[in-house]
Symmetry: C2
Subunit: 303 residues, 2 copies
């Protein structure tokens, strides 16, 4: 079981949770996973941002004048200082305009086309191969125990939905992220939805993840995994359930992935997640020490 | 199949849809049902309003001064003219205060206790027996064909969730209704949610049902059933799907249920649903003619 996990305290804690799962009523077996940095790699850039910049390049190829817009110019130049100064929110909002006025189905196709062609810039593999193999094994074990598995992402709901089934076996109704507003359109006859460039409410991070989980699932999860301060409340919520387990991924593996301190995409001045985890006694997974493989393309380590 | 349905055009249309379901990919077999007046009886009063008035009586027993408040006074006196003049929204908001500052779990228990004791004022039976038997049969047939069944109600999400599994076999994550806001509370140590008396966004009626369906399910349903103008957009949305079916319940049975023209709880100046249905060619179910039984306690009619 969990062959990509080394013998370690974190693996023991996960196994103990799985062993005790039969004591949880099946309807309460709800597991929630953050996505970026928890199920797949978020470095050197969020994959969704890579997608949006890809969309930007396609838009500029059609309408070169777009390249003059401040947010777009910084993105195309790869000027991360300028992007950082403008803030992810402002940049993301500008990029959302590139996906406005299309149906969810058309957006879905666009995302799938991106994933079919794109490669991770450092690893040179399709992004599907940037999923963490140990987490896929864990999802499999949870599902074998009749858990309902949900992805609760700070990223866009529709973006994650487009790949959720193929990447994680998670259907659209089990994906909750940051949502855009839609508008009804009847201009082609039958009623349909069209994306707008407005984000519907605050980004799905921090306390918003808890209220979103309640809104969508209606039950308190007994398992949560995350990697940044944007997941702290969700982890706290699951850990406080009877027999609940909270798992935090520590990105300390510069060789096979990246070594960095995770931060929430949209939250400032939050406690570093490893400090929160230590304070609460959550299970921390060291990528370097606790995972024999991170990706399929890694050679397995002994341990 | 569908033993409580008479031989009729509406039954034939439902059977044709069920026969063709095998042509729909399983992941797209999404069916949505309105609740009040579609799955259970909504007369002489919405069952949720009966519940809230029950809560009001309990609150007045503890704090008699509450009876002086205008909305409460009208409700306790059964003064439907005064209630109508204040509007359902104002009255419901006042009643929501009685359920504020408790956890979703405590609210859930309160709703279950109500259903265990309460009786329908005209039929004298528990509200569970006020479910429409033909609709339960239809849900069973859909589920036998691997449909995911969702309840999309104008009523409160948590109220319907409390009975969804027992009444319809629908788990909490498949219930979407009008939502209250929650707040995080740590006063007892572990983090938890507490209900507020604020409704989160507009009531779940009309176009809001479509955007809510997209938000929660992420797919366009291929089947929808409703009974009022508050369901019109949802019905239109499902009917426009490939092979989609929209079913409208016509309350024309004064003998076994009630004869009335359905209206949306919160929408004014909308087209009567039977006119909308006729314009679009949707399937209209006459309770009087098309259902051999409405409730379990009815004797079956031949036909």
């Amino acid at each position: 079981m969990l062959p990509s996990w080394s013998e370690s305290a974190s693996r023991s804690s996960v196994l103990a949770f799985l062993d005790a799962a039969s004591e949880i009523p099946p309807s309460e077996r709800i597991a929630v996973f953050d996505n970026d940095g928890t199920l797949w790699c978020e470095k050197p850039e969020y994959i969704q941002l890579e997608f949006l910049v890809d969309r930007l390049r396609a838009a500029v190829a059609r309408s070169p004048e777009l390249a003059g817009r401040e947010e777009y110019r910084a993105l195309l130049a790869g000027d991360s200082t300028a992007v950082g100064e403008m803030g992810l929110q402002r940049v993301a909002t500008a990029l959302l305009e590139l996906c406005a006025d299309i149906t969810p189905e058309a957006f879905d196709r666009t995302v799938r086309e991106f994933f079919a062609a794109a490669r991770h810039r450092d690893h040179g593999v399709p992004f599907r191969q940037m999923r963490y193999r140990p987490m896929l094994e864990l999802i499999g074990e949870l599902r074998a125990r009749e858990f309902s598995v949900f992805v609760v992402s700070g990223g866009g709901t529709e973006f994650v939905r487009a790949i959720g089934d193929d990447f994680y076996g998670v259907p659209p109704q089990n994906v909750l992220g940051t949502e855009v507003e839609y508008r009804l359109d009847r201009s082609t006859g039958a009623v349909r939805l069209l994306r707008t460039n407005n984000v519907a409410g605050p980004p799905n991070e921090g306390a918003v993840k808890i209220t979103g989980i309640h809104r969508m699932i209606g039950r308190r999860p007994v398992f949560a995994a995350g990697n940044s301060a944007g997941d702290a409340e969700m982890l706290e919520y699951a850990a406080a359930a009877d027999g609940g387990l909270a798992v935090v991924v520590d990105h300390d593996d510069a060789d096979r992935e990246y070594a960095y301190a995770s931060v929430a995409g949209s939250l400032d001045d939050t406690e570093p997640i490893l400090e929160t985890a230590a304070r609460h006694g959550w299970t921390v997974v060291s990528m370097a020490d606790d995972w024999r493989r991170v990706f399929d393309h890694d050679e397995a380590r002994h341990g």
